[in-house]
Symmetry: C7
Subunit: 94 residues, 7 copies
């Protein structure tokens, strides 16, 4: 993504605030994310539930490509409200 | 569940908000969950107690199938109010 | 207790909210619990003290049978107000 | 103390709320407790200080006999207001 | 930077409060920082989001040169509101 | 101090609330305490500063004799307001 | 500094509340401190920022001489508002 990306620099973690309809269900949504290439772990927490939608805090770990993750979330009916945290570098600092 | 699930991706943890009648008792309910195939550990915490019902926070760890867990809970008289957290991936990120 | 209990699934921890008269004293009550078969550790904390009664938070660890614990507590003059947490499984998830 | 105490079950920790006059001083009081048979460690924290008295939170660790500890505290001029926590068992669960 | 810098003394961590327009996106911004020479890890957290701008808390770890980091942030359209923390020395004290 | 002190029982930590004039300075005061026999470590934290005095929270670790510590503090112009915590025993329980 | 300082007793950590003008910048200020003899690590955190000044919480680790640190801070235009904590002894108790 970044043109001057050095050897070995990568995104390790992305935390997203996402709105989605009830279908697919939260566990299905999490499993779909977990099955993506480069994704090693996913934690999906429910922040708010409404008659028609759910607001989720999604934490994705792995060797990540944000634009692909965002595309998939939109393909499954979700909307990324905000990117709340990104961890980048040669090694994780968390 | 997710059709494109990659080799090795699985649900490690599910946290549920469940309403149930007093019978079966909380310890019996926990034991039944603990005896399910794929379940390695269960923590059932009482959130609210009412004249006729109890609201529980149930944390299940293992190699999990959410639809089977939900079916069993309903079979035992419980209702899943919400799925509060799901952890998925090749390895646990908690 | 649970008829379909799998090999190796057991209750590891029970947290109880208990009301008891001043006699037996809190340390005697704790010692009696600690001496029960299957009980490995007990933590009894005083939540409230009244003219005639004490409210206790009792945490019991071991290989536990809730109905036996409850019977004993009642035999010693206590009343189980609520079961606040139960941890079950092949291994502890706490 | 408990007649049915099993082999190996013992009190590991007692937490007390104690009122005492200024004399003996807090350090002397702590040293006296620390010198009792079966006591391995003592932490005495000052909760409140008054013109004539001090309220202490006393945590005693070891292989403990509550009635002896209470007798000694009374002998030194203190009063046990309440037993706030007792940890019992074959092994400590703290 | 400091003329009398001793052998081995260096900046290990800088925490910045930065304002930036929505473009480049937060993940791109983080990747650009992570690709800089001397930078080993970057954590970019979103503090506030506005119609036209985002306020970020940026934590950079590595062997750092603050003036270069500041120049790059300005080159990418950001403004450093404040330097909130700097860790310096022969070894990290965090 | 305690006449019946058993072999091996000792004071490991004393926490004091102390009032002192500005001179000697807090670092000098801390160094003087740290240089006393039996003292292994000292942490002096400033709680309040006034025109003429400072209130300190002093934590002393080692093999301690409270009466000697108190005498020295008074010799250097300080007053012990209260002994806030004493840890005693064969081994530290902190 | 303390005349009766025993062999091996030293200051391990000093925490200061310092006011300084904007120039030198916080990172330069931190680097200067980090380059001093005996200083092993420095953490400079911004507490307040004003039109003309910054209030800093400075934590210095190493084998420290407070009077030298204070002189240098004053030489660079800063004022020590208060010494908030000093850790002294044969070994660190933090």
């Amino acid at each position: 993504m970044a043109e001057e990306a050095s050897e070995g620099s990568r995104i390790w973690r992305i935390v997203l605030d996402v709105l989605k309809p009830h279908d697919p269900s939260l566990p299905e949504f999490a499993e779909k994310l977990g099955a993506m290439e480069g994704v090693e772990g996913v934690d999906v927490a429910l922040l708010e539930i409404d008659k028609e939608t759910e607001t989720l805090k999604i934490t994705v770990d792995g060797e990540l490509d944000y634009s692909k993750i965002r595309s998939k979330i939109e393909e499954w009916g979700g909307v990324v409200h905000s990117v709340d945290e990104v961890v980048v570098g040669q090694k994780s600092i968390r």
